[in-house]
């Protein structure tokens, strides 16, 4: 069972504490066989097309196989796993790694919420990685409390005019398309007055500034300032007021991908590579390192299995997302412990910038390809895509049914929040 297998699914599940539901045959953890007819077909395509362009991959349906035609193959999770497997075998970089926002969570929304025009305009260049996408959700005033966002979009004829500020936007400096969540109705309660748009990142009025983070590496995140940015109404995704519903689905999808046992958001080296490095350097002989490495290896395997089980639930047609929260809640700290143990095993030399003491086996680790980067970026793992505190609230409230935390501003019109007479009353 491999990381890429458990990570292949771009899906929504319903959690069953205890055992999953079924309808099918015997439990079987074996992946589709080498001589599986579907696998052979995919392998043949890769052999005939050894250096496929992203456009070719998209047209073949391999970029988003689980989507319906004409974009994908309506592939079940088994076929998705096969395709992902064959991507790796062929040594072809998956488009998910180039344009994740389009290929993973946000592009998918256009299937259910977009117009046909919107799909035809944005999906082909998005899936072909010709137009990079960025997410514009969080704001300085609210990351966890996304519903309290302040960026507004005001209707003006056939357009909307957007003013505000976004933050923590990956790829914003390179992106052509921004997926933005804005407030279209300030008189509605906070979650109800939100809408989603696709905007042209080269529009006048958009300014992108990179944010240097503590890792000191090439900035991953940006601030985006929007001043009187015009966007055609035709680029609104779904109806006015549907923004929150859409974004919740996207977050669940994103969390699913992140619940893999890699060092940083499911990506990067895993406990397998950590153990490899510790054995190669002899550091595995230290009893405390040994014990902790074993515990992480065990937990990593269990995270893979959880992903596999959720995968099967998906195959049995179970809807919706709580498992994603559970997986991320465990996987993010798991990743932090991996890179912390790697750093500790490196000793004092580990404090040298980019110094890599533990060898990594040859593999494409994506962006997070050194233990050093994973470690200094690590604190972000439990912040982005849902902090631990938010995830634990969601799990305890929606899964265990414990009483909900209160937000006294949730039901009042957004534009009345923080008014002086209300402050005095509390």
């Amino acid at each position: 069972m491999t990381t890429r297998a458990a990570g292949a699914v771009d899906a929504i599940y319903r959690l069953q504490v205890g055992f999953g539901l079924t309808g099918r045959n015997e439990m079987d953890f074996n992946l589709p066989a080498e001589d599986d007819a579907r696998r052979l077909e995919v392998r043949r395509w890769f052999e005939e097309n050894p250096n496929p362009t992203y456009d070719q991959l998209a047209k073949q349906g391999y970029t988003v196989p689980h989507w319906p035609a004409p974009w994908g193959l309506s592939a079940d999770p088994e076929l998705q796993l096969i395709i992902d497997d064959e991507f790796e075998r062929a040594g072809v970089k998956h488009p998910m790694k180039i344009n994740p926002i389009a290929v993973n969570q946000c592009g998918q929304s256009l299937l259910n919420y977009g117009t046909e025009e919107l799909r035809q305009r944005f999906l082909p260049p998005g899936l072909a990685c010709e137009e990079l996408w960025t997410m514009l959700f969080s704001e300085p005033s609210g990351g966890s409390d996304l519903g309290a966002l302040r960026t507004q979009a005001r209707r003006d004829g056939d357009d909307y005019i957007i003013n505000g500020q976004k933050i923590w936007n990956s790829l914003a400096h390179k992106a052509h398309v921004g997926v933005i969540l804005v407030r279209t109705d300030p008189t509605a309660p906070k979650h109800r007055g939100l809408s989603m748009f696709l905007i042209d990142m080269k529009s006048p009025g958009i300014e992108v500034r990179p944010i240097l983070d503590m890792s000191g590496h090439e900035p991953e995140y940006n601030e985006v300032f929007l001043t009187d940015v015009r966007v055609p109404a035709s680029q609104r995704v779904g109806e006015e007021g549907q923004g929150w519903q859409i974004v919740v689905e996207q977050l669940q999808t994103e969390r699913m991908k992140i619940a893999n046992p890699g060092a940083m958001w499911g990506y990067g080296p895993t406990a397998h590579e950590l153990v490899y490095g510790l054995i190669e350097t002899g550091k595995i002989k230290d009893p405390l390192i040994r014990d902790e490495a074993a515990g992480l290896y065990a937990e990593g395997e269990l995270l893979r299995l959880l992903g596999a089980r959720n995968l099967s639930a998906r195959m049995n047609g179970k809807p919706a997302g709580l498992e994603a929260n559970l997986g991320k809640m465990i996987a993010s700290p798991h990743g932090q412990r991996l890179s912390t143990l790697a750093k500790r095993a490196e000793g004092v030399a580990g404090m040298l910038r980019d110094d890599e003491e533990l060898p990594l086996p040859m593999h494409d680790y994506g962006m997070f390809d050194t233990w050093d980067y994973c470690y200094w970026f690590g604190p972000a793992a439990t912040l982005g895509v849902g902090t631990q505190e938010v995830l634990k609230n969601t799990i305890s409230e929606r899964l265990l049914g414990l009483p909900r935390d209160l937000d006294p501003t949730a039901k009042m019109p957004f534009n009345e929040i923080g008014r002086p007479e209300l402050k005095a009353a509390s």
């Binding site: 055992f19 439990m27 088994e78 299995l305 959880l306 265990l400 049914g401 935390d405």
Partner: protein
């Protein structure tokens, strides 16, 4: 490829749950008398035997139901969930020892009786000094003609008090070997230990020139084969028990009011329970995979068993401790369930070695794989 349980598995789980929920009575263990003397066993074990559960994984050739380990964990999880005081674990341990090491004749004779509910077994592997892998020669076997005689002591034997026959791990000139003795044979002295987990009976055994039958097919892997399966059973018990502890704790947190709200409203409480819910879910996945892998004789089965046991016992320990904290002082009293689960958790984390032992085994296996790949 299917990582979920089949309808048959779920049906078995349901029927086990219904049966045990009705039949297991924990109230006697919560009375103050239980602190002074052992609670008398009721008719639970005969009822379990009548259901055929002791023969669940005994191969059909020897009169059993020949089901796989996924079926087994369906039942064992429910036994863990209810604590089901009975010799099931001890009997299963003895049964596996005979299946692995016995001659054809011995298997035909003994396993069929176990499956029919006519014979209860136990396995004496641990030594009084705490060596749970039976390696310290506390019991020795000497040949006497074509017979064997056992001398010495074994301890921490689960449910020897209910056994008709006991499989004893004893030493022949420094080599580990397996024997069967009659529990009532001359020279066998069984004592009940003052074991904190009162839902199990745990015994010490003193052997003085006890006539024993050897199980001829033991080798260097025998104990490990048995231990893999016992790890699975403990992990399944622990996961079921942890789930029950979580459910009872969540229910309490929704009811108990403090400072104007149900205490489950407070983040310090709900966040801890969310973490534990995640860990227990992971433990469950580990148990299922280990059950499948052992049934398939998968190359990763031994690793899977060690992973399942180490993780499940830690989750069970953490959950049962947290449960007492959430209940507050009342959770600390003898009359509440919490201590029974807490004690089973501690016991399951030590009976066959602590989690760090299983983690050490795991690393040794990974090191061996690394060497082999080089």
């Amino acid at each position: 490829m299917d990582f979920t349980l089949s309808d048959e598995h779920l049906a078995l789980q349901d029927s086990a749950r219904n049966f045990l929920t009705k039949e297991v009575k924990l109230e006697p263990y919560l009375r103050t008398e239980a602190n002074e003397q052992p609670v008398a066993r009721d008719g639970l074990w005969p009822s379990i035997q009548a259901l055929g559960w002791p023969g669940l994984v005994v191969p059909e050739a020897y009169g059993g139901l020949g089901m796989d380990y996924l079926d087994l964990v369906m039942i064992v999880s429910e036994m863990g969930r209810t604590l089901a005081p009975s010799p099931f674990f001890g009997n299963l341990a003895g049964t596996w020892a005979i299946e692995r090491c016995g001659s054809e004749d011995q298997k035909q004779a003994l396993l069929a009786q176990v499956a029919a509910g006519e014979l209860t077994l136990a396995l004496a592997v641990a030594d009084p000094n705490g060596d749970v892998n039976g390696q310290s020669s506390a019991a020795r076997a000497t040949a006497s003609g074509d017979q064997w005689k056992l001398n010495g002591k074994k301890s921490f034997v689960v449910e020897a008090g209910s056994a008709d026959k006991i499989v004893v791990v004893a030493d022949i000139d420094g080599q580990q070997a397996f024997f069967v003795v009659d529990a009532k044979a001359e020279g066998v002295h069984i004592e009940r230990l003052d074991w904190r987990d009162i839902t199990r009976e745990v015994n010490s055994i003193t052997l003085t020139d006890v006539a024993a039958e050897r199980l001829p097919h033991s080798d260097a892997d025998s104990w490990l084969w048995i231990r893999d399966r016992l790890y699975l059973v403990l992990a399944a018990e622990s996961t079921g028990g942890a789930e029950q502890s979580l459910a009872e704790t969540v229910a309490y947190a929704k009811e108990r009011v403090a400072f104007g709200r149900p205490i489950g409203f407070y983040q310090s409480i709900k966040h801890d329970l969310a973490e534990l819910a995640g860990g227990i879910e992971l433990a469950g996945a580990g148990v299922q995979f280990a059950a499948w892998a052992l049934s398939e004789n998968h190359p990763d089965a031994r690793k899977a068993a060690a992973i399942a046991q180490s993780y499940a016992s830690e989750q069970y320990s953490a959950m049962t401790f947290r449960s007492i904290q959430v209940f507050g002082a009342i959770g600390f009293t003898w009359e509440m369930h919490n201590h029974l689960y807490y004690k089973r958790a501690r016991a399951n984390a030590e009976l066959l070695g602590p989690p760090c032992d299983q983690r050490e085994q795991l690393i040794c296996m990974l090191e061996a794989e690394h060497r082999a790949a080089a």
